[in-house]
């Protein structure tokens, strides 16, 4: 079974040289730490930056330079700043190659719920709805089940929807799941995890790929 770093590390294997990538808050942010050698990716921050660099040293901290999680950051060589309309314009136009998001629930048709829990204070969707409605390649990074052990991979979302039929792949602590017309297709299982465990933990339609293999991580 993977921890959150393992999930991030596995998703990093999806990165290709020259990709523009938007990483959501939480596990997705960790993906930046595992970019494979020889692969150059450019991270987009939807508050108006292409080319997010590492966190600053104490003396580099600049209040005017933050990421979408409002953390202080730096820039990489070749970065650019732009306004929020252009930022979401490039997202909407499909210029971002890969988007990695967290989620509360994913349905086997690719629907995603990740912004609101009825009865709890609603903080807002931020840029999540724009991202899921427009990104051409969305990978969800999340735990396979919630704290009570309920599957987060469902046949239909129970929470308010963020976007329809948009998730292409889910990477959880248990494995990797493509979303196809057949529902979730398990293509890889995490080290130490059995197919039966995956079946037991998944509520949505699930098929096991004939080529399923253990994750190489």
């Amino acid at each position: 079974m993977l921890d959150k770093f393992g999930i991030a590390k596995r998703i990093a294997q999806e990165l290709e040289d020259g990709y523009y990538v938007n990483l959501g808050i939480g596990i997705p942010t960790l993906v930046a730490n595992y970019v494979p050698a020889g692969v150059e990716v450019i991270l987009q921050s939807e508050n108006g930056l292409l080319g997010i660099g590492p966190f600053p040293t104490e003396d580099q901290v600049d209040a005017d330079l933050i990421n979408a999680g409002k953390q202080t950051v730096t820039t990489t060589a070749g970065s650019s700043f732009f306004d929020s309309a252009m930022s979401f314009g490039m997202i909407r136009a499909g210029k971002v190659d890969l988007t990695v998001l967290g989620a509360m629930e994913v349905a086997d048709n690719g629907d995603i719920a990740n912004w609101k829990i009825p009865g709890k204070m609603v903080k807002g969707m931020g840029g999540a709805m724009d991202l899921v409605a427009s990104a051409k390649n969305i990978i969800v990074a999340m735990q396979h089940t919630d704290k009570a052990g309920n599957s987060k991979l469902l046949d239909a979302c129970t929470l308010p929807i963020t976007g329809l039929k948009c998730v292409r792949k889910v990477v959880t602590n248990l494995g990797v799941f493509d979303i196809t017309s057949e529902g979730f297709v398990c293509t890889e299982y995490a080290p130490g995890v059995t197919i039966d465990e995956i079946k037991a933990a998944t509520a949505g339609r699930l098929t096991i790929s004939p080529n399923v293999k253990q994750m190489d991580i």
Binding site: D64, I66, K70, D83, S84, F88, G89, R92
Partner: protein, 230 residues
């Protein structure tokens, strides 16, 4: 041509109770600190604030919330604010949550004289309720209207006496969009220079969009998430 005002107090002088304001900034980054303070001092009430976020309890728009000057927030994300939450749950405060890209583009639309735009953000969600859905090339889009704000209040890095603005780093965010969108646009800047001193190729907001400008004072530029590496 006289756009330069003495300071925030003069800049916000005719902002009235019940008006619709746009306020630039993302989180606490690039917010018009001086004007927010002046609005608190002015005690205008029942404001509708279009702003991506609502500040924190004791900074940014949070200062207006503390004084119960805000009737309605139109934002994409409003966490990090306990007083906000209290007012929302008690029904004192109205909140309209809008996807961030939609929020940005509705500002831009106003500045570009476009009455409405189409975006896929929110299709199939509760954001779509009551909105027109239209299919283009096999994909559904929501029609969203341009904002209509009485004042836009923005913060820039440098500005000149003609109202030209240059923003710094991610403090740009919504500021240039809102600057275009206000019926009256107020810009506070860290450094105000005579017209002619900024490179015309580097201007982010041409002066035509800016009606009042002043050099702000005492910028705190508070950081929400100070993250450093060793």
């Amino acid at each position: 041509m006289n756009k330069v005002v003495s300071g925030a107090q003069e800049a916000v002088r005719d902002i009235q109770d019940g008006m619709v304001l746009m306020l630039g900034g993302f989180g606490l980054c690039g917010i018009p600190e001086n004007c927010i303070t002046a609005l608190v001092d002015k005690k205008v009430k029942n404001l509708t604030c279009i702003s991506n976020n609502a500040g924190v309890d004791d900074f940014g728009i949070g200062l207006l919330l503390q004084q119960k000057q805000v009737k309605k927030m139109i934002s994409s994300y409003v966490g990090e604010n306990a007083e906000f939450e209290r007012q929302l749950l008690s029904g004192e405060l109205e909140v309209e949550l809008i996807p961030q890209g939609t929020l940005a583009t509705r500002c831009m639309a106003a500045g570009y004289g476009m009455p409405a735009i189409y975006t896929p953000a929110g299709v199939g969600t509760e954001v779509a309720i009551g909105k027109e859905v239209r299919n283009f090339n096999g994909k559904d889009y929501l029609m969203e209207y341009a904002f209509d704000a009485d004042f836009a209040i923005v913060k820039a890095w440098k500005g000149d006496t003609h109202g030209n603005l240059i923003f710094k780093d991610t403090a740009r965010n919504f500021n240039p969009l809102m600057a275009m969108a206000g019926k009256i646009t107020i810009a506070e800047v860290e450094e105000l220079v005579p017209a002619g001193q900024l490179d015309p190729n580097h201007i982010h907001t041409p002066g035509i969009y800016v009606h009042r400008i002043f050099q702000g004072v005492d910028y705190e530029k508070r950081i929400e998430q100070r993250t450093v590496r060793s």
